[in-house]
Amino acid sequence: MILTPEVLAIMILNVIFAFFGIIAFVLSVKIFLGWNPDSVSQSQYRLEKQSFLTATIIKYIFVVKVPLFLFFIFTLDKISNVLTGAMCAAGVVDATAYGTNLFILKIINLYLFAYWLVLNSEDVKHENQPYTKMKFGIFIVAFFLFISELVVEGVMFNSIDVDKMVSCCGTLYSSSATSAISSIFSIDTAVLLSLFYGNFLLIVLLYFLKQRYLFAISNLFFIIISIMSLITFFGTYIYELPTHHCPFCFLQSDYYYVGYLIYALLFMGTFYGLIVGIIQVSKENRDKNYRKSLIFNTLYVILLSSFVMIYYIKNGVWL
């Protein structure tokens, strides 16, 4: 078990989240099963009161959980200092059998929790609260993922053995590695970059065509293609090293924490892009989400491309 102040903070927060999350879950089940917006019965009025309380509990859990993801990465990065062989968060993620699964689960939850927050904010904008049943239904599902995340997180921190040597990111993110990650290096860079910029141009095109479902789908693909191209291509220009592909090292101070900005832009851009397709809102709000998605995705593409261009301008060659 590793118990740094950061891990301790996360574990204490997890206990608090679990306590309130269980209360919210029980109430959500009651609301989901009994909700009838047309009823004027005693039970419906009671559920209406409870729905406000429950939504408030969930909102505050998720409002803290979403930015806590960055703190989690920061924690992994800090822990890497005490693990032999680890150079960054990548080594900590790989140190146990749970790390990668936890990371994937956290990313799924990040989008899910942010989606719930948007759904809730849309719901309370309407007198008849059209999304109430839906948002509590989604929370019931999200609760299991949420609890799974807390459990796996606890198990992962508990399983880290500080005396055991772990692999560094240079080994994990290389074409010679045996992990699943290595398979992305088999994709030709030109193809990947075509997909990356092509996908971005498609998002721009769909923004003007206002095709909400296609816009959302193209954003979904953009998440995957972006991460792949970040690891195989853009990362090397951030590090200015053709062999360094780690998606975590640029979160460190050596790179001015630029990784946090990169991931925040990618998350914001793709999240609002997905929201356009998933939630039925007023035209005005949908246009706002379209705009936010396009702005953040564009900034993301400009930021990544700028590393390549600056390197070329400085050195006159490509990596």
């Binding site: 917006p37 004027v40 019965s41 005693q42 009025y45 209406e48 009161k49 406000f52 309370v124 007198e127 008849n128 609260q129």
Partner: protein
């Protein structure tokens, strides 16, 4: 215009102590009508007012105002409904004692963020109507009971609400001031406002401009 349908209101003090304030009430109040709810303390009059003003929700049943189910409104929408439709005159006035008359009266306008000219226009109108314009800059706590009540009435009307609600409006006034208040009511009635008053003051009974007197007893309407 105002309709209470099968209203039950219970206050749960604890598991074994539940007070039924209203027991299956049905009531319709037409637009422009002046209704006096009569009854002893604890009969349920104030509870009816709080339901009409969306200050509380029924345990079961429905409150409909202008075809809007106000008992189903979430709190944030209930606040907007109150702000736009209701002028409430409280028994103890509920003024902010450290603010001036003017500041108290324009308080309901603040969330609407109107321009200064509009505020002044509305302020002038109500202070003149309720004869308090000469005290505009006075601090409320320095005013007499009758003056404080006129400020409360001016505040309740500054938004030009369709519905005016008064809960025991003369409970803290002597007879002369109570009669003044009744004259003010007559003026409000002439403006075609819907007015609902809860009182046990006999001065309100058998007034010529009151459309209906409703007796409330133990949470029920006595016909």
């Amino acid at each position: 215009m105002i309709e209470l349908k099968n209203i039950i209101k219970r206050y749960e003090l604890n598991k074994n102590d539940i007070v039924t304030a209203l027991d299956d009430i049905n009531l319709k109040i037409k637009e422009g009508e002046l209704v006096v709810l009569k009854g002893a303390s604890g009969s349920g009059k104030s509870t009816i007012l709080s339901l009409i003003a969306a200050l509380s929700k029924p345990t079961s049943g429905e409150v409909v105002v202008d075809e809007k189910k106000i008992s189903k409104l979430p709190d944030n929408f209930a606040s907007v409904y109150r702000r736009d439709n209701i002028g409430f005159i409280f028994q103890k006035y509920n003024l902010i004692p450290t603010l001036s008359v003017k500041e108290n009266i324009i308080l309901p306008l603040v969330p609407l963020n109107p321009d200064a000219n509009e505020v002044q226009e509305k302020l002038d109108k109500v202070t003149k109507m309720f004869n308090i314009s000469h005290k505009e800059d006075s601090i409320v706590r320095n005013l007499s009971g009758g003056e404080q009540q006129r400020v409360a009435i001016a505040r309740a009307n500054v938004n030009n609400p369709k519905i005016v609600i008064a809960d025991e409006p003369t409970a803290n006034l002597d007879e002369k001031l109570s009669l003044n208040f009744i004259e003010i009511l007559r003026e409000l009635k002439a403006l075609n406002k819907t007015i609902v008053i809860a009182t046990h003051d006999p001065l309100f009974f058998d007034l010529d401009f009151v459309d209906r007197e409703i007796q409330v007893h133990n949470g029920k309407i006595i016909l």
